[in-house]
């Protein structure tokens, strides 16, 4: 962990992972890009939509016995509603993503992109993709839009960019997301998890739901 201060408003900043290259100041909403020891202010991040997500930066949970903490957020909007990819650091040293929307949760980690991945346009629902030794089926294709981000992120994002994504399902609870905002696409694999299994703490509180 390292600390610094926001070049825009001077508020103290704590940077939790070395992997973070992008930071959104929690006080003034400035988007800060990290270059070695310096933080560059590249302008205000767009405002997040109130999507009723129960997660927030600082929320903690446990996945398969390993504790994690949420340190960043990408908020996406699909035709089917909002979806968040929460960037999390795990106690075993990994960083991963807690996907969340409409009370459904998925934990994913970036995997090596297989060679010769089809272009987004050529991908069809029902297609089978082989990633490593595993087979996945394409279950959903959507042109999501990144509304805004928050906290620390491992890559540089602008608000309001288009993110074509495909969801894939493997056997059992195996699940994955293929992010086509660049090519070759980024592949994230993991599994669907029920809320109760993640033993969350530090969630948002809602009126009438305490």
């Amino acid at each position: 962990m390292s600390s610094g201060s926001c070049p825009s408003c001077g508020a103290p900043l704590e940077i939790k992972t070395r992997a973070a290259t992008l930071l959104v100041c929690a006080y003034c909403n400035s988007t800060l890009v990290r270059h070695e020891q310096k933080l560059e202010d590249i302008g205000k991040m767009a405002l997040l939509a109130e999507d009723g997500s129960p997660l927030q930066i600082g929320a903690r949970g446990v996945y398969r016995g390993v504790k994690f903490e949420v340190i960043g957020r990408l908020q996406l909007e699909y035709s089917a509603g909002y979806w968040n990819e929460w960037y999390a650091t795990f106690d075993d040293g990994r960083t991963g993503w807690v996907g969340e929307g409409q009370g459904q949760y998925a934990i994913t980690f970036q995997a090596a992109t297989p060679r010769n991945m089809p272009q987004f346009e050529n991908l069809k629902i029902g297609d089978t993709l082989k990633v490593g030794v595993e087979h996945f089926r394409v279950t959903e294709k959507s042109r999501a839009r990144c509304i805004a981000s928050q906290g620390e992120l491992p890559f540089h994002v602008n608000s309001g960019y288009d993110a074509p994504v495909a969801d894939v399902s493997g056997s059992g609870a195996r699940f994955g997301t293929i992010d086509y905002s660049e090519y070759p696409p980024l592949v994230f694999l993991g599994e669907r998890v029920e809320f109760d299994a993640l033993a969350f703490a530090g969630l948002r509180e809602f009126e009438g739901w305490s």
Binding site: G52, A80, G103, R192, V193, E207, W209
Partner: protein, 427 residues
């Protein structure tokens, strides 16, 4: 988002219907549509002016949610709020079947459904694990086999409240139900997506208690697809009890065998001759000992396409009390139309129960349709019998057989509404 802001966030948003002006409470920020409870217009809550998604369908007064929108309930330990209600209908052979679906919301756990059909309720949640095809043509989910129950096309006929997709009256979807009571897997297909959910049977009483609803839940009709059989536990228990009692009867039988004499006490041969003036024979006196028990008389005769009838009297020498009985030995065989046949036997056995100890002799009065006939008589004392054991098994099996029959009848009723009835009736 201001990180310094403390206290619970408000989820509920009070708005006014853009069509009729009636107040609407939006309870879930993930809702993609809301149907006004007053005029029935379906609106888009993500647009600032609640843009119209679908104009109000024809008013259908007969559909009213039994769980009022906004009501919170604790079902199986989890609190959920009822935020939407829709009635869906399918048609089988032109006959409409309508059921009721309540959308439940919890900001942490997402969505659940309560589905009611003919007073039967199912609590449904999205399946986060993909079921696999089972070897039996159904689905396999968490180690259980689900059997296909029915497939149908469902159409939305009434809608009110919030939904996490853009709902419209007239929306249709293909449904496939697979059951493993008390659970049910439902695959729902629309043009855009396929979703899978898993439900558990709940009683109306549980729903009423969970949501603190006034009055009584609606009466149930028939057997629901996922309804657990109330008889099923009895079936296992009654067969287990039967097995246990059988062991007891076997133990009793073994004990009886161990204390039985099972002893031949007299044996002799006689000849029946039609020409003889005195055909009846008398044995010498023999001693019958031990506890009061049975005496077995075995008669065998060398008859071949003939019969021999023996009129017996077992006479107690001391008291003169006689036990009279008649036995027939007949054996017929032949060759007719290319087939050989045989009927009867050359020997016979009779059990005389409850014979007290004493000195006895046997008188035999034979008759036959042939002459001469050589026949042999044996007297056995205290021979263990298998019949009481078998009879006790039969009687002991009755409760278990009845339970199994009732279970079968229950399953027949369950599957009668499915695509695979167990008994098909000609129409």
């Amino acid at each position: 988002v201001n990180p310094k802001k403390a206290g619970p966030a408000a989820l509920v948003r009070a708005v006014k219907c853009s069509k009729c002006g009636a107040p609407i409470e939006l309870r879930s920020p993930s809702s993609l549509s809301v149907a006004c409870g007053s005029c029935g217009s379906v609106l888009d809550p993500r647009t600032p002016d609640l843009a119209l998604i679908a104009a109000a369908a024809k008013r259908q007064e007969k559909y009213r949610p039994r769980i009022p929108l906004g009501h919170k309930g604790r079902l199986k330990g989890e609190v959920f709020q009822c935020i939407g209600y829709m009635a869906r209908r399918t048609k089988v052979d032109g006959q409409p079947y309508t059921w009721h679906e309540y959308l439940l919301f919890n900001p942490y756990k997402g969505y659940r459904w309560l589905v009611e059909y003919q007073g039967h309720w199912t609590s449904v949640k999205p399946a986060h694990v993909t079921p696999e095809a089972s070897a039996t043509g159904g689905l396999r989910f968490f180690g259980e086999d689900y059997r296909h129950f029915q497939s149908c096309r469902a159409e939305v006929v009434f809608v009110v409240g919030e939904f996490y997709w853009q709902v419209r009256v007239g929306d249709s979807a293909e449904l496939e139900d697979y059951v493993c009571p008390p659970s049910i897997l439902s695959i729902e297909r629309t043009a855009d997506e396929t979703s899978c959910s898993v439900g558990t049977y709940v009683t109306g009483q549980e729903v009423w208690q969970a949501f603190q609803l006034p009055g009584e839940p609606p009466e149930t009709t028939g057997v629901a697809p996922a309804q657990p059989s109330p008889i099923q536990p009895d079936v296992g228990k009654s067969w287990a009890l039967f097995a246990a009692l059988c062991l007891v009867t076997i133990a009793i039988h073994s004990f009886v065998v161990s204390i039985s004499q099972n002893k031949r006490i007299w044996q002799g041969r006689f000849n029946y001759d039609a020409a003889e003036a005195e055909k009846s024979k008398v044995t010498e006196v023999f001693e019958i000992t031990g506890r009061t028990s049975n005496v077995v008389i075995k008669t065998s005769a060398r008859v071949d396409n003939h019969w021999l009838f023996a009129g017996y009297a077992l006479i107690n020498e001391g008291t003169g009390v006689a036990i009279d009985f008649g036995r027939e030995v007949s054996y017929y065989h032949g060759y007719d139309g290319g087939e050989s046949w045989a009927e009867g036997s050359t020997s016979d056995e009779v059990v005389i129960p409850q014979v007290p100890a004493g000195r006895y002799y046997l008188r035999v009065e034979p008759q036959s349709d042939t002459s001469p006939v050589l026949y042999e008589v044996e007297v056995w004392r205290d021979v263990p019998q298998l019949f009481p054991l078998l009879m006790s098994w039969f009687i002991l099996a009755i409760p278990a057989l009845i339970a199994s029959l009732r279970q079968y009848t229950f399953e027949v009723r369950r599957w009668s509404e499915s695509d695979h009835p167990m008994i098909t009736t000609e129409e």
